[in-house]
């Protein structure tokens, strides 16, 4: 196993969300700065107390974390920039935790935020990476829908999954989104018949397999548990965390992600197994990726997710609570903030601060991430086990 040292002494606190909007005229800087202000409000801290800043965004233009320090009049002694989208929440958490353990920062603000203009999504897709510009975009300019349609088609053929299996994920999440004021689609009921009757986007993907791009931000603080207690903040500790990049690059199509390489190390570090997880928060850019995470994080074997989904109830009150806020499929995908959503929702659940519904008795949450489709699959994967200490 990796033999990585544990995350003892580190607290994760103050989950905040800047309300999502289908479109916004405000730049990403506004969303990230608003999230920073919300972190201060949530923690009672002064801005000067934040001496570490980790940021993830796709729509800051030429700016990165360093430019934001000037926008926000901060002088942190540690910064991090995470252009890794769907995996950036877990990655920010891991880096911030080490900075706190090593004394390089006392209090790290981890923030992901993006705006959404009329052309921003297509602009992002067109120039997302050299490989996708050269070898994906010319084939119909479908963006991630095209690539994930191929991954879904392959998965269905290989493992006998049916559309209705993926529909269970989307429908359960829509149920979970009810009562979450931040879920852009939370007020719109979704039945399995609605799911199956939706218009095709990139077959076998149909409308409710795809996320709604939007603007918004997600953020949390990382500090010592001593400090969190002194400040009276509800917090979680990190039982284990992993990441992996460009895993299984010889697989002809993505059927598994990096979690499959590292989950044993994750559970060994945490001293617990999948059966101890009270709620799972996955990166749900497409339902097939949820199925892969359920398999690769050890809840069932490879190819067994369809049967698992038929046998379990993924709603908040069900026997396998999953994406309890509605996930990106019901909240919207606020750019890189979508990669923070699993971590922030996991933190909300284990510290009893949900935006919507509370998973009864949630103490251990597993959050995972998956990001950066630079060619035909996402390259970055990660996962973290959080335990509520509130």
């Amino acid at each position: 196993m990796s033999g990585a040292r544990d995350y003892r002494g580190v607290a994760v606190t103050s989950p905040v969300t800047i309300p999502y909007a289908r479109r916004s005229d405000k730049p990403a800087h506004w969303f990230i700065g608003s999230a920073l202000r919300a972190l201060l409000d949530a923690s009672g801290l002064e801005k000067d107390a934040i001496d570490g800043l980790a940021v993830s965004s796709f729509s800051l233009g030429s700016d990165t974390t360093i430019a934001l320090t000037e926008h926000f009049d901060m002088s942190p002694r540690w910064i991090e920039w995470l252009p890794t989208g769907g995996a950036s929440g877990v990655m920010a958490l891991r880096r911030a935790a080490r900075a706190v353990q090593d004394g390089d920062a006392n209090i790290v603000a981890c923030i992901a935020g993006d705006t959404a203009g009329s052309a921003s999504f297509s602009d992002l897709v067109k120039d997302f990476s050299r490989f996708s510009s050269a070898a994906v975009y010319p084939y119909g300019a479908a963006g991630p829908n095209g690539v994930f349609a191929l991954i879904t088609d392959n998965y269905m053929r290989r493992f006998g999954a049916e559309r209705a299996d993926f529909g269970r994920i989307a429908v359960a999440q829509r149920t979970n989104a009810r009562g979450n004021p931040n879920a852009l689609l939370g007020a719109k009921p979704l039945s399995i018949d609605d799911y199956l009757a939706a218009p095709p986007i990139a077959e076998p993907l149909h409308l409710f397999d795809c996320v709604l791009p939007c603007a918004g931000a997600e953020a949390f603080l990382v500090m010592s548990d001593e400090r969190a207690r002194a400040l009276g903040l509800k917090h979680a500790r990190i039982r284990g965390a992993i990441e992996r990049h460009n895993a299984f690059f010889e697989d002809p199509l993505a059927e598994r992600g990096g979690w499959a390489m590292d989950r044993d190390a994750l559970y060994a570090q945490a001293g617990l197994g999948p059966d101890a997880v009270d709620c799972l928060q996955t990166y749900d850019d497409y339902p097939v990726i949820v199925a892969m995470q359920i398999e690769d994080l050890g809840f069932c074997g490879k190819g067994e997710a369809p049967a698992f989904l038929r046998a379990h109830d993924l709603t908040v009150e069900g026997d396998f609570p999953h994406n309890s806020c509605g996930g990106q499929l019901s909240c919207g995908q606020a750019g890189a903030a979508g990669g923070f959503l699993p971590v922030v929702e996991a933190l909300r659940q284990v510290t009893r601060q949900p935006l919507g519904r509370q998973v009864p008795g949630a103490r251990i949450a597993l959050a995972s991430g998956y990001g950066m489709v630079t060619y035909d699959r996402c390259l970055a994967s990660g996962a973290v086990l959080l335990e509520g200490m509130a």
Binding site: A134, Y139, G140, A141, G146, P199, I201
Partner: protein, 109 residues
């Protein structure tokens, strides 16, 4: 019919999309070599939406595993199904900008 595939003369590895060094041995000894373009169609999709208004829809694309050991996204010729043996045809202005279409491989009856 052949396509051109970036190939390392030092270690023999093929690669796609094009890179600046060999992905395997990292040497700067790449050439563009002829390849049969033969492989298997692994998965397919019919696109009904595009970010480019000029795209004619619906449009079939697929994921091809070439016998040469690289994976390629290609347009689909008529009637090609996942699992089929295919051969890629390239329309190109340059080697780096080859646009591939996967047709059923009639030599593989």
């Amino acid at each position: 019919m052949t396509i051109r595939l970036q190939t390392c003369t030092a270690c023999g590895a093929h690669q796609y999309p094009a890179r600046d060094l060999c992905r395997t041995c990292l040497r700067d000894e790449l050439i563009w070599a002829d390849d049969s373009g033969r492989g298997r169609l692994l998965a397919a999709t019919t696109l009904h939406r595009s970010l480019d208004p000029a795209t004619a829809l619906p449009l079939g694309i697929g994921a091809v595993a070439l016998d040469a050991g690289v994976r390629v996204i290609a347009f689909l010729g008529h009637g090609v199904q996942p699992g089929d043996r295919v051969v890629l045809h390239a329309a190109a202005d340059t080697e780096e900008n080859q646009i591939f279409t996967a047709e059923r491989d009639s030599s593989d009856a």
